[in-house]
C-alpha cells in the first residue's frame, strides 16, 4: 500500500511563505492498494490537487472515507474534479450523524447548496454512492480492508484502520484523548479514570503494532491547557499512544494554522532530544510525503 499525505493542516488552509515546506492544505490522505485500489481519507483542501493528479490516469473509480464532517475535512470536496465528469465512480463512506439526524448525503449536499457553491450535488456527473459505516464493521475496498473506530471529538468522528497483507495503517481523524472531568478529590474521579484507561486501551488494542499511524497532534502541552475539550491531541498524547500501542512509525499531523515551518522544525528537534521516547520512528507530517508499506 502506498500512502500519500495530501493535506496535513488543521482547521483552515494556510498558504504563505511560512507554510511552504510542510504545506498549508487541510486534511486529505491518499491510499493506493497493491491492485491499484484508489482510496482517499477526508476531503480537505488537499483533495483538489489530488483529484487533478488522479484524473490524469484516465477514468477514475475511488472511495472517499470521511472521518467527520467538520469544515476542514470536507471543504475540498466541491473542488474534486472527478465528481464533475461522467464515467467516474466515487463511493463515499462515513458516519450517520445521530445528533443532527442527518445522513452523509444530506450533509455533503448542503455544502453545495446554491448559496455556497454554483453547482449543486444533484448536478454532479460522476456516479456517486453514499455508504454509512458502523464502528468496527470492516469494509473491503479492493485489496484494502477499512475498519472504523469511534474516537473522541466534539462530533461523531471515526478513526480508520486500513489493512493489506498484514500491513496496518491508521489515521486518527481528529482526536482528543479523553480527560478526567472530575477533580482528584471528587468521589467519581477514580471510576472515571478507570473508564478513561479502558477507552484508551480500546484504541491501543485496535492499532497495536501498526506500521504507520498518522495522528492528530495540533497542540503543544502548553497550548493544550487553554484548549481542553476542543477535540485535538498534543505531541505528548500522540507519543503516549505510540508507546502504548508499540507503533512502528508515527506522523504528527493536523498542524495548528498558526504553526510556521520553523516552529514545526523547532518543536520536532526539541522532541527528538527527549530521553523518554519509545522505539517508534516519529516524523512531522509533510504535504506530498509518500509512505510505502
Amino acid at each position: 500500500m502506498k500512502i500519500t499525505l495530501c493535506g496535513v493542516r488543521g482547521s483552515i488552509a494556510v498558504p504563505g511563505p511560512d507554510t511552504v515546506r510542510y504545506g498549508g492544505n487541510t486534511t486529505c490522505i491518499h491510499v493506493e492498494g497493491k491492485d491499484g485500489t484508489q482510496l482517499i481519507i477526508d476531503g480537505g483542501t488537499g483533495i483538489r490537487a489530488l483529484g487533478e493528479r488522479l484524473l490524469a490516469a484516465g477514468p477514475l473509480a475511488c472511495s472517499i472515507f470521511i472521518t467527520h464532517t467538520h469544515w476542514d475535512h470536507i471543504q475540498g470536496l466541491p473542488f474534486f474534479v472527478p465528481f464533475f465528469l461522467p464515467g467516474n465512480q466515487v463511493d463515499i463512506y462515513g458516519a450517520y450523524d445521530p445528533i443532527y439526524g442527518k445522513d452523509l448525503k444530506t450533509i455533503l449536499a448542503q455544502q453545495m447548496e446554491y448559496c455556497y457553491f454554483p453547482v449543486r450535488e444533484s448536478e454532479l456527473k460522476a456516479k456517486i454512492s453514499y455508504n454509512h459505516v458502523t464502528e468496527r464493521q470492516p469494509v473491503k475496498i479492493g485489496s484494502l480492508t477499512v475498519t472504523p473506530l469511534l474516537v473522541n471529538h466534539p462530533v461523531y468522528n471515526f478513526g480508520y484502520r486500513i489493512e493489506e497483507d498484514g500491513k496496518v495503517f491508521f489515521f486518527t481523524g481528529d482526536y482528543e484523548p479523553p480527560y478526567n472531568i472530575y477533580e482528584p478529590a471528587d468521589e467519581d474521579y477514580e471510576d472515571y479514570q478507570r473508564l478513561i484507561v479502558q477507552q484508551k486501551k480500546t484504541l491501543v488494542d485496535f492499532i497495536r503494532g501498526a506500521d504507520v499511524v498518522v495522528a492528530d497532534t495540533q497542540y503543544t502541552l502548553a497550548e493544550y491547557a487553554s484548549r481542553k475539550g476542543w477535540g485535538h491531541g498534543t505531541y505528548d498524547s500522540s507519543i503516549e499512544m505510540a508507546r502504548m500501542a508499540a507503533v512502528k512509525s508515527m506522523y504528527f499531523t493536523h498542524h495548528d494554522p498558526n504553526r510556521t515551518d520553523d516552529q514545526l522544525d523547532a518543536i520536532f528537534s526539541q522532541l527528538q532530544s527527549r530521553q523518554d521516547l519509545p522505539a517508534t520512528r516519529f516524523a512531522v507530517a509533510r504535504e506530498g510525503e509518500i509512505i510505502e508499506l
Partner: protein
Amino acid sequence: MISQQQLIRMVESIPPFPESVHQVLSLTASVDCAPKALVKVIEHDPILTAEVLRLVNSAYFGLSRHVTSINHAVVYVGINTVKNVAIALSTKGALPAKNTAGLDMRQFWEHSLTVGVLARLLAAPRAAGEINEANYFVAGLLHDIGKILFAHFIPQEYRQVAESLADYGYDELATERAVLGTDHCQAGAMLAEKWKLPTSLVRSIRFHHDVEAADEQSPELYATAAANLAAHLVSAARATPGAGGDHVVVPEVLRAWLGDELPQVVNGIVGLSEEIDKAKAFIEVV
C-alpha cells in the same frame, strides 16, 4: 362545557414537573457548562439515566461496546453528544407522554419545539443583562401545555373544538371558550402553577395570546408570544417556500419589543433552521 372543579381535578392528576429537566436545561444554556455538573444532574434522575443509556445503546448510535453508565457514555461518545441527548430527552420529559386522542402529537411537538427555540433566539439579543436562556426555551416549549390537558382528559369535548373551528371564524381561543368554557392558556397556566414554575413562566403561558392583558409585562412573555406568532410564519415558509403568513397580526407592544416587523426579524435569525432540525431530529428516536 367543563366546570372549574373538573379543570382543577385534571391539573391535580398530572405528575409533578421533573426537577432534573429544569436543571439540565438551565445548565446547558451556558456553552461552557461543566461536564461533571451535567453528569450529576442526569445521574440523580434514574429515569433520565435509563433513557440516556437506552438511546446511546440503540442501533441508532451503532456502538460496538455496551455503555453502562453516564460516565462511561461521556468517555465513549463525548460530553457534547451526551449533552445533546440529555437536552432532547429533558425536552420530551417536560411534556406528559400519554396517548392523547384528538391531538396530533407530532405536530404539537414540532410546534412546541419551534416556539421554544424561537423564544430563546428572539430573547438572546433583546433581554437586558444576564438572561437564563433555558427559561425562555421552557416558556416556549410549554406555552400550549393546556392543550395536552384537554386532549388527555376530555378527548371527546376537545375533538369537538377542532370540529367547530369553522363556526368561530377559525379563532381557536374563541372556539375553546365557547365549547369548553375555558381555554388552553388558562388550563396551561393552572398546570404551570401546580408545577411551581416561576411566575414569569406562568404568566407567559397564561397571556401568550393576549400580551396586553397581562398583569405585568416581561421579556419571557414577549418572547413566548412573538415566538408563537413567528412559528406560524416559519412552518408556513417551510411547507411552501416564499409563503407570506399575511394573516399573522402582531400586537404593537410586541412589534416595539422586536424593533422591526416580525418576518424581517425571523429572516434575520442565523441558524434557525438548523436549531429546529436538531431539536426535531430526536422526536424520531427518543
